[in-house]
């Protein structure tokens, strides 16, 4: 018979049994018993004390996205629980495996509006894969095992465990066994060979097929299989925002990013191809634009592990309900060797227009203020094209996603679905902790940085060597862009009076400097990257810098603005 331990200790033992090494958290009244026991476990379980619970969730997301492992968050009840909601919702939309342990008032006081009581399960059910209240210590091992199984099997997502205080202190015999089966849940469906054969035939018959590589390719670790299918069939590959880095930027068949601020070729050719093979993506409205004018000429094949995505936004002609790697592996032998040079090269003409009209002025300007694109390009290059990109949300996100160079998978961490300003700084901390050997380049704006700026304290405490590049235009730039283009230049509440960011960084013991002109940029980037530790580069950016190309919200995907005055002429 096992010795009896508290529910709190059972939780820690179960976390260890699930292979957890790192917890991002913040203590409080309803979770004190667990933190008390954690005091004895710090040699085995590293706890990162963030400065705000939201930061814990984004840090766990950064860790999960860079490693593929489940991020773990631990916070108290009430306000801490509500503070994690943004991160939980973000993780749900971006399929990020995360287990969030939240303290709860004692079960005898549930429903009495007790101090710091909130209905955690009720609030989080719509934004989690699973939310469960642990009211008895006997349930700890079962619930934790189930939580990790659910969070990181099938389509990953967040799980919330709401842990009552009395269950933390009550005694239990702890027996942990890993969850490998839930009767009502099939995380990874078996390949249906008839579907595979059908899709292979469609690909072989297509003249102008195009593969969309989404986040699911990265989650499945299917980058090699996807490249093999593309190479064998000579099929161009385009990616979603979260699918960036599933194929190296300089691969012959890689043609760029889709979406509102994606590359012209992928967007225009969406409406030129005769077959669209979407892998591990969900036809988000930022990718499709007007769905009634989206790839109407093409047959649509959708490969996804989540069958609820089929026909949700775009009607499909064929589907493969499977893990992306399983599906691509099964497809590969059935794909004919083909030469589709003319089709592959059809992207070149749009790439040339984009280079001349958009990229050169943004990335290689010779006069005027510094531009975001040129800073991103220079940082990416100086980091040997091997860095991990972490972004905040807004112009900094779109421009860094566009101009960062991706050499290996899992090189972009960004808030795609929820578009959470303030995501970046804590996410970069988690990313660096998950991949300490990689250079983490975090691009942010003056708006987003200030939404979670307190996490500079976490960087200070743990010496997390994150490179922070603040693209500072003293504006909420993305909203400003819409105001400039669609709201008659009425800059309602978008100019910002900003603090001295270098002084703030310095106050946290973080090295920092201002860059105001082109001549000093290279040197500053060099100093930042060679500095042993975190660094903040506050770069003064042209306040009128915008991101192009742009497909306005709700417009057909091939209606492309090249800049504020020119539109792409379609032939």
């Amino acid at each position: 018979m096992n010795e009896k331990i508290t529910g709190a200790e059972a939780l820690l033992k179960s976390l260890l049994a699930e292979g957890v090494e790192l917890i991002f958290g913040y203590p409080g009244g309803a979770i004190i018993p667990v933190y008390d026991k954690l005091y004895d476990y710090t040699d085995r379980l590293k706890h990162i004390l963030v400065r705000h619970e939201q930061g814990a969730t984004h840090a766990a997301q950064g860790y999960a996205r860079v490693t593929g492992r489940t991020g773990v968050v631990m916070v108290t009840s009430g306000p801490a629980a509500t503070n994690v909601i943004t991160g939980v919702s973000d993780a749900m939309l971006d399929s990020t495996p995360m287990v969030v342990i939240i303290g709860q008032v004692a079960s005898s006081t549930l429903g009495t509006d007790a101090f710091q009581e909130t209905d955690v399960v009720g609030i989080t059910q719509p934004i989690t894969k699973w939310a469960y209240q642990i009211r008895r210590p006997e349930d700890v091992a079962w619930a934790v095992a189930r939580a990790f199984y659910i969070a990181n099997n099938g389509r990953p997502g967040p799980v919330v465990l709401d842990f009552t205080k009395d269950a933390q202190t009550a005694m239990v015999e702890w027996n942990h066994s890993k969850c490998t089966y839930i009767r009502s849940y099939i995380p990874c469906p078996k390949i249906n060979m008839a579907d595979i054969e059908r899709v292979a035939a469609m690909i072989n018959a297509a003249q102008r097929p195009m593969i969309i590589s989404g986040h699911g390719v990265m989650i499945a670790g299917a980058e090699k299989e996807m490249a093999a299918v593309a190479e064998k069939g000579d099929i161009p590959v385009v990616s979603t925002l979260l699918g960036l880095s599933t194929m190296p930027s300089d691969h012959r068949l890689y043609k760029g990013m889709l979406g509102m601020h994606g590359n012209i070729g992928p967007n225009v050719n969406t409406n030129r191809c005769d077959l669209l093979v979407a892998v591990g993506m969900r036809f988000d409205d930022r990718v499709t634009g007007d769905v009634d004018h989206y790839a109407r000429q093409a047959k649509i094949v959708h490969i996804d592990i989540d069958s609820a995505e089929f026909d949700k936004n775009i009607k499909t002609d064929a589907t493969i309900h499977a893990d992306a790697r399983d599906a691509l592996e099964a497809l590969l032998p059935l794909i004919n060797h083909a030469d589709r040079t003319r089709w592959v090269e059809s992207f070149d003409r749009y790439a040339k227009i984009e280079r001349e009209k958009v990229i050169d002025p943004e990335v290689f300007p010779t006069e005027g203020s510094l531009r975001m694109g040129e800073v991103v390009h220079k940082v990416s290059k100086a980091a040997g094209y091997k860095g991990v990109l972490v972004t905040d949300v807004g112009l900094n996100q779109m421009l860094s996603a566009r101009y960062f160079h991706y050499a290996e998978p899992r090189s972009i961490i960004t808030s795609g679905g929820l578009g959470t300003m303030g995501f970046g700084l804590p996410a970069s901390i988690g990313a660096k902790m998950g991949a300490p050997e990689r250079t983490v380049c975090f691009f942010t704006g003056d708006g987003g940085l200030q939404m979670t700026i307190q996490e500079l304290g976490t960087i200070m405490e743990y010496g997390t060597a994150v490179k922070i590049i603040l693209l500072n235009n003293n504006f909420l730039g993305n909203v400003r862009q819409w105001q400039a283009l669609f709201f008659g230049g009425r800059f309602s509440q978008t100019p910002m009076v900003n603090p001295d960011f270098v002084a703030i960084a310095n106050a946290y013991g973080i090295a920092a400097e201002n860059v105001a002109d082109r001549e000093s940029l290279d040197g500053a980037i060099e100093r930042m990257l060679s500095h042993d530790g975190a660094y903040l580069l506050n770069v003064n950016i042209d306040p009128e810098d915008m991101v192009f190309p742009m497909t306005p919200a709700g417009a057909p995907v091939d209606h492309v603005m090249l800049n504020a005055t020119e539109r792409l002429e379609l032939d």
Partner: protein, 182 residues
Amino acid sequence: MDQQLYTVTVFSENQVGLLNQISIIYTRRGVNIESLTVSPSSIEGVHKFTITSWSDRTLMEKIVKQIEKRIDVLKAFLYTDDEIVYQEVALYKVPTLKLLDEEHLEDIIRHHSARILEITREYTVLEKTGHNDETEALFEELKRYGITQFVRSGRVAVTKSTVEYVTLFLEEQARRRAEGLI
């Protein structure tokens, strides 16, 4: 859009909070639940939800997929009325004295196949099972006696199909588990 009454049946494990998980899927998409019944199913430990709502097929198919996506849901199905045998029960509370004044009470009860459940000096409770229009028809008929209370249950339904898909699903899962496929 082809607005019509759809019936969704959901088979789930006996876990806390499933009703909320299912109902918010409707709420989020702006679909009103017309009726909802929760009961045990023919399979031990498996619960059955029967939910009706007015909507169009495209949206209902998405709702069913979202329901089935919940971890503790085994299977969810979408039906139109022609695919199921369904029933509702209605109770009518009517003042007894007024009913006694009625010459055709027997006719009404016979005609509607209604039953009397309880008679007191003050009130009489009638029961009628049937489809919505049938229970509605009796309601119209009894209106003139002054119905003091009326209640209609949610729809209960079984399929006309000869295949029991939930049973097959459970057998398949048991087989996969035995073979170590999961």
